[in-house]
Assembly symmetry: C2
Homo-oligomer: 332 residues x 2
């Protein structure tokens, strides 16, 4: 294993110290491993809390700040945060207008966020609504998931819904919007190589030189099938076809997100963008906005995922609204 | 070789098509492989042109836009752009106030930018001044370099000097500032793994499982020494000590840039940031601003580099000024 680490068990804690030092405009609670926007709680604003296992950076801590998340809870690598973390985060950002939990659909995450929501509601009466993302069309159930996995749409949702909360919309409207964004997005990923969890020290799965995994999960969970290496054009078809088969994207402007899994260079991602945008064009899906880069990763996995979000003027306006976080920032 | 490509020889051209499609606010000349900010030429503004071999993305095309570069020229992978590309880029952005060429110190780049500057001056009388970056303390001369290599400071320089040009400063002042930024920054990098050039199909160099290369160049050029794998703490010492030995950074605010070489996860970079910031703190170097992420890469190399820039209030103000490019964007 070749990694920049000291003790693998300390990686998340020390990376969080680095994040805190590099971004003094965020508040970091190292005991609870939560990252909070500096001005939280914002009175009268619905607060957004997300979180999940580490290893997917910049998701979620890199998206904390005005216009996006109010707080993120960091679990160990590929491990759900515990309810206590979510309780602390929810308390820290509650500005009196309620709190939205954004939860990727993995069984541990869903249970722990639910438990936290119940604890907070019982203690403080805070209104908490959870929205679960489940945009991955690759598989119906998976290693750690009943139902579809939550992947790339989570990034787009955090941005769009974060902008809506910043406008002062009430909790019910913010939650409705979040459900609508989730329902409007679909994703599919692939891996050229496995990731290696530092505490394990060897690749999570074995992927021979001439093969790739189509439909991979962001923790290395099995996808749809293992096939021989193919060209970028063929790979784009394998990712786009199941997305378009699952939801009608024609006739509305789309947000296209080509994501790197961690070890894939930007040059290859832009090449994939060209392929994917070409396929969407042929299918009558007009791309109105784009995001290209490693935003929901799987440690050092090589590969990519594609997320397509069916949008409208409202969603595009919220996407364009100012945001100020370590890893998505514009207009502010 | 596991990469998202079609024909390896077409990678740069197709990635450029993807970049153009994803960023309609940039102008792309596919014949000359240059990327130009949409509103160029900006009358009365000094224009900044950079470029170099591809494979270091987002450098340089990802830094084109208001507040940073006016144009970038893309060579083939790890290959200098030809003079004709630089001539076209210089013409395209010349707003009558002169053009600054920002050139990383590699022999081919320096020669081709020089030739282009002479051609443009002879044809159109445009004032062109070149500033060469040479911040890498690792080695005195290298495979493709007489004198020190230009690396991470190039990113910081393009941002800071881009802001100064945006303010309307004249060419001589902009060039002086660029020289001052280069003289104030030092870098050192390391590799855990080699990169693989797609057209070659095998790793550029052999780096056994238990070893790493300290002082690596961004094309995989040899560094100072090959040593057994070490902890992140030890690696940080190996990178920071030569930087601090080469320039006095005490007593001034510094900009600290921890850069990923391409395949290293953000989690590891933040851990390295914690180590490096700790060492700078002990050495009496106060860090005032930070940049963490893969900004000057070497394809799919795993590893990192550290750049420290001795700043002052003027440089920090220019760093903070609005910028709107695909990969550095804030306040605009």
């Amino acid at each position: 294993m070749k990694k920049l680490v000291n003790e693998p068990a300390d990686l998340v804690a020390q990376a969080l110290r680095g994040l805190a030092a590099a971004h003094p405009d965020l508040r970091v609670d190292h005991d609870h491993r939560i990252v909070v926007r500096a001005d939280a709680p914002v009175p009268g604003k619905v607060a957004l809390v997300s979180g999940g296992g580490s290893g997917h950076e910049p998701l979620h801590a890199g998206f904390v700040g005005p216009g996006m998340l109010d707080a993120a809870c960091l679990g160990e690598i590929f491990t759900s945060p515990v309810p206590d973390q979510v309780v602390e985060a929810t308390r820290a950002v509650d500005g009196g207008a309620g709190v939205l939990h954004i939860v990727k659909n993995y069984t541990g995450d869903v249970l722990n966020f639910e438990m936290a929501a119940e604890l907070v509601a019982a203690e403080t009466g805070t209104d908490v609504v959870a929205v679960v993302t489940d945009d991955d069309v690759a598989v119906r159930d998976s290693t750690w998931t009943a139902g579809r996995r939550g992947v790339g749409v989570t990034v787009l949702l955090e941005k769009i819904v974060g902008a809506a909360a910043e406008q002062g919309r009430p909790l019910a409207a913010v939650a409705d919007l979040a459900r609508r964004v989730n329902a409007s997005g679909r994703s599919m990923g692939m891996a050229l190589t496995s990731c290696t969890v530092p505490a394990v020290g060897r690749p999570t799965f074995d992927l021979p030189d001439g093969e790739m995994e189509i439909g991979i999960g962001i923790h290395g969970e099995p996808g749809r099938r293992r096939v021989p290496l193919a060209t970028a054009h063929e790979i784009a078809e394998m990712l786009v076809e199941p997305i378009l088969a699952d939801l009608d994207f024609t006739g509305s402007p789309a947000i296209l997100f080509v994501n790197g899994m961690g070890a894939t260079p930007l040059l290859e991602l832009y090449l994939m963008y060209d392929e994917v945008a070409g396929l969407l064009g042929k299918a009558g899906v007009p791309v109105a906005r784009s995001l290209v880069g490693p935003y929901i990763t799987s440690l050092d996995m090589a590969g990519c995922s594609v997320t397509v979000l069916r949008a409208d003027d409202e969603l595009l306006g919220l996407w364009d609204a100012p945001v100020r976080t370590p890893n998505l920032r514009w207009g502010a």
